[in-house]
């Protein structure tokens, strides 16, 4: 069983929303190096550091619920990791919870099932109740079709995304006039994945909302796995 394995919950907000997932990995690696926290390396011809994430976040989306797992060369207290990293992380990345993994656990990428997002968008032609009605009828469709274009073959495929949507709530509270807030739960991970941007394009189209991309912002709030048939935050899985 691998030693010194940690599950870390972190944020990607502020200016960090402008960098890609791959770039974020390098940012984290360099931060660990500056913090003098030695990561364990894989064996073989091209050793790489043992760090991986639950699920990549698209550029442009913020998050306060990201997860990574990392294996260190030494045994450190979570608090020690947090304080060493605090001064090395750029603004927008914070390690909010750290737990040592003491029992055998599959990779978090294979455990993650659901993501919760908070979505804010501009619309000046609807009331909140009208929006709720539209969302309700959207969710009541037998099938919600989405066209997916394969990036490699450029072929079009029609998907039913209804099974990938667990929940869409229109929230009461908005800070700005004509901005609506949605709280959504979507399937995430290798067993099925719905990108929140793709969802919003689909809703905009099917509900005739004309959502302006420049006035749409998305934040991932949390990621969940399934434990004993219940949805559990990834940090609580262990």
């Amino acid at each position: 069983m691998p030693m010194n394995r940690y599950l870390i919950k972190y944020t990607k907000t502020d200016n960090m929303k402008y960098i890609s997932h791959l770039d974020l990995m390098n940012v984290l690696l360099r931060a660990f190096k500056r913090a003098k926290i030695d990561l364990a390396y894989s064996q073989g011809f091209s050793p790489h550091p043992k760090i991986s994430t639950a699920h990549p976040l698209s550029l442009g989306i913020e998050s306060i619920g990201e997860y990574l797992e990392v294996e260190l060369q030494v045994d450190l207290l979570p608090d020690a990791i947090a304080s060493a990293m605090k001064h090395q992380l750029p603004r927008g990345i914070e390690l909010t919870e750290i737990k040592k993994v003491t029992e055998p656990m599959k990779s978090i990428a294979s455990i993650v099932e659901v993501s919760g997002y908070l979505i804010s968008f501009y619309n000046d032609s609807l009331t909140a109740d009208e929006l709720r009605e539209k969302i309700a009828s959207y969710l009541s469709l037998d099938e919600i079709q989405m066209i997916k274009i394969s990036p490699k073959t450029k072929k079009e495929k029609v998907l039913d995304i209804k099974p990938l949507i667990y929940q869409i709530d229109v929230l009461d509270h908005t800070d700005e006039e004509n901005y609506f807030l949605l709280s959504v739960l979507l399937k995430t991970g290798s067993n099925g994945n719905l990108n929140p941007m793709a969802l919003m394009e689909n809703i905009s189209d099917k509900c005739s909302l004309n959502i302006d991309r420049d006035r749409l912002s998305i934040m991932r709030k949390e990621m969940y796995g399934i434990k004993e048939e219940k949805r559990v935050r990834l940090i609580d899985i262990i």
Partner: protein, 624 residues
């Protein structure tokens, strides 16, 4: 500031928005009330290219160490960003504060290569700053240039307020101090220029008047004031251990061309290759001490977290303690899981054991630069490499398991014939033969790349009088080689675009009359000329014809020794006598030794201290 908000609104519309946000680790942000003057370091290419530039990191941190100075960065916005900026009236802004660069005190463009000049104009345009110095009133920031091409930047002379000749880590700070004092006095800009014009390393083009002959050659270059020097001298750092060097590098968030910690181990070069401008303008050699290098190295690793480190110079195998330095650094890098790169290793003093250790992380390709295909031509250009050197190195490389070798050559060199081109092909053939016959080789296959570029004669080199080969001639040479390499399996042949090199050749030895060509080229839409997919030769042809300038006058004309060059009033320390002597030796195919072995009287030691083997720098005497 509302500009920041305007920028943030559009960032998600462009590719790689992180190019424009700053806030990287080790970047600096100062509050308006905390500094007295703002300097913008402007790199006239994209973020990814500019962030790989060592000079910017040095000057940026040197200036920011001073509490009265705030140095920010700006890069050429990518085309998608530029389009949105123009659409939304967002002026060119600096990365740190996201304020308009037009409102800064001074903007310094680094001139790394001539093909970046249209980007400079484009950036001024985006900033809302008039191109010509005479059109800028007291409200505009000072525009200055530095870097290698600043020694012969006459095509930009009418645009800039002053040029920095030489090394900037101390000089830039001094200039900013003078600027702050001038600012407090509230007097016109010309007073500031008059004051700094007497500082060694500062050249104010508007203070020198150029007259032309009827045939468009330079008739005279006359200073306007008595107190000005007749010849502009460069400023150099005499002691690299004492000179400022950053212990922190800005760490980009995104992937850039070179994302690594860099330590410059020495400046200058003693080899004397005749085509090489860097080898002439960066004299004399000054080494950083072993202790200083290792100290900087350790601090940079600690402060950046880079997983790659690079020791750089013009010819690293010549560093007096190279073996010790590499051994020591390899040990450190292995312990920290950092890979080490050591570019600019010369073929003839190649230490394979060392390179094998360095490259054990990744057996990427090995590169050699014979530059010319025949010994005769290599002697003409004073590139001291024999065929034995080449094949010995190849054998070693193959034995140690390298599977990929790249050779760099030039075409269009002085006295070149088809026989010399045949030599290039023969080298590739011989290398493949060595591979085929080698018994104890480690790799199953060998990929050879032959990369050929077009020789551009540069000012301050022995070949500065030489006419560049015409585009027609270069095309013929390229096709000659292409036909031969086409038949060779496992050998890839790369060449550079000839019309691009031609434009480089025009501006490298250009004069002030070219400024209107640049303005016209910009008007026609020329930008990112160094990028193959963006370079548009037809626009350049139009720019020349519409301004009535013949580009061949600059690139393809043979000059005689009596001619006054547009850069004749600039003194890099190497004498014309030396360059002429070297040019004559080139024609006779005679070699000149590495001056670490013996002084070759280039003239540099009449002004500066030269590096000697026992590291006790002594001023010598020039022979003539």
């Amino acid at each position: 500031m509302s500009l920041k908000k305007d920028i943030e609104k559009i960032l998600l519309r462009v590719e790689k928005p992180a190019r424009y946000i700053g806030t990287e680790i080790n970047s600096v942000l100062k509050d308006k009330k905390d500094y007295k003057a703002k300097f913008i370091f402007a790199f006239p290419d994209t973020y990814e290219i500019g962030m790989s530039h060592l000079g910017m990191q040095i000057i940026y941190h040197a200036l920011n160490e001073d509490k009265d100075i705030f140095c920010e960065r700006v890069f050429a916005p990518a085309v998608d960003m530029e389009n949105i900026m123009r659409e939304k009236n967002i002026p060119l802004f600096s990365l740190e504060s996201m304020e308009a660069v037009r409102d800064s005190d001074m903007i310094g463009f680094t001139l790394q290569y001539e093909l970046s000049y249209t980007n400079i104009l484009n950036m001024l345009d985006l900033a809302g700053i008039p191109f010509y110095a005479k059109d800028r009133d007291e409200s505009y920031p000072f525009i200055t240039v530095g870097g290698p091409c600043a020694y012969h930047a006459e095509p930009l002379a009418d645009f800039v307020d002053f040029c920095i000749l030489g090394e900037g880590e101390t000089l830039n700070v001094e200039i900013m101090h003078r600027y702050i004092r001038w600012k407090e006095k509230n007097c016109p800009k010309i007073e500031f220029l008059k004051e700094i014009a007497t500082i060694k390393g500062v050249y104010v083009p508007s203070f020198y008047d150029v007259q032309y002959n009827e045939d468009h050659t330079v008739k005279s270059i006359d200073k306007l004031y008595d107190f000005l020097p007749d010849k502009l001298e460069k400023y150099i750092e005499e002691d690299l251990d004492k000179a400022y060097y950053p212990e922190k590098f800005i760490v980009p968030f995104i992937d850039v061309v070179h994302n690594r910690g860099i330590i410059e181990i020495f400046r200058g070069c003693t080899r004397g290759c005749r085509f090489c401008q860097a080898g002439m303008i960066y004299r004399p050699v000054r080494e950083r001490s072993f202790e200083k290098i290792t100290e900087l190295r350790d601090k940079i690793i600690e402060n950046t977290g880079f997983d790659e480190l690079s020791l750089i110079s013009l010819s690293s195998s010549d560093y007096s303690k190279i073996d010790e330095l590499v051994t020591n650094t390899m040990k450190k890098c292995r312990a920290e899981n950092i890979s080490l790169t050591l570019p600019s290793l010369r073929l003839d003093s190649f230490s394979f054991k060392v390179l094998d250790e360095i490259q054990s992380y990744k057996k990427s390709g090995l590169t050699f630069a014979p530059e010319a295909g025949s010994q005769r031509l290599r002697d003409v250009i004073n590139k001291n490499i024999t065929e034995e050197n080449i094949y010995f190195a190849v054998e070693n490389a193959l034995q140690l398991g390298w599977g990929s070798i790249k050779f760099y050559f030039m075409i269009g060199l002085p006295t070149e014939t088809n026989e010399d081109l045949d030599g290039i092909v023969e080298i590739a053939e011989k290398v493949m033969e060595i591979f085929k016959n080698m018994k104890d080789k480690k790799s199953k296959r060998l990929n050879v790349t032959v990369s050929v570029s077009n020789f551009v004669p540069k000012p301050f080199t022995p070949f500065q009088w030489f006419p560049m080969a015409t585009q027609q001639e270069l095309t013929e040479k390229k096709e000659y080689l292409f036909k031969k390499f086409y038949k060779m399996k496992n050998v890839k042949f790369n060449y550079h675009d000839i019309s691009t090199s031609f434009i480089e050749g025009v501006f490298a030895r250009g004069d002030r009359r070219l400024s209107k060509v640049l303005v016209k080229a910009h008007e026609l839409g020329c930008k990112f000329d160094g990028w193959r997919e963006k370079f548009d030769y037809q626009k350049w042809e139009k720019a020349f014809s519409e301004t009535g300038i013949d580009p061949q006058f600059y690139a393809n004309r043979r000059r005689d020794y009596e001619e006054i060059h547009p850069w004749s009033h600039i003194d890099v320390g190497v004498t014309d006598k030396f360059l002429i002597r070297e040019n004559e030796k080139a024609k006779a195919g005679e070699l000149t030794t590495d001056c670490r072995n013996q002084c070759v009287s280039c003239g540099i030691n009449t002004q500066y201290l030269c590096f000697t083997k026992d590291n006790k720098s002594k001023a010598g005497n020039a022979h003539e």
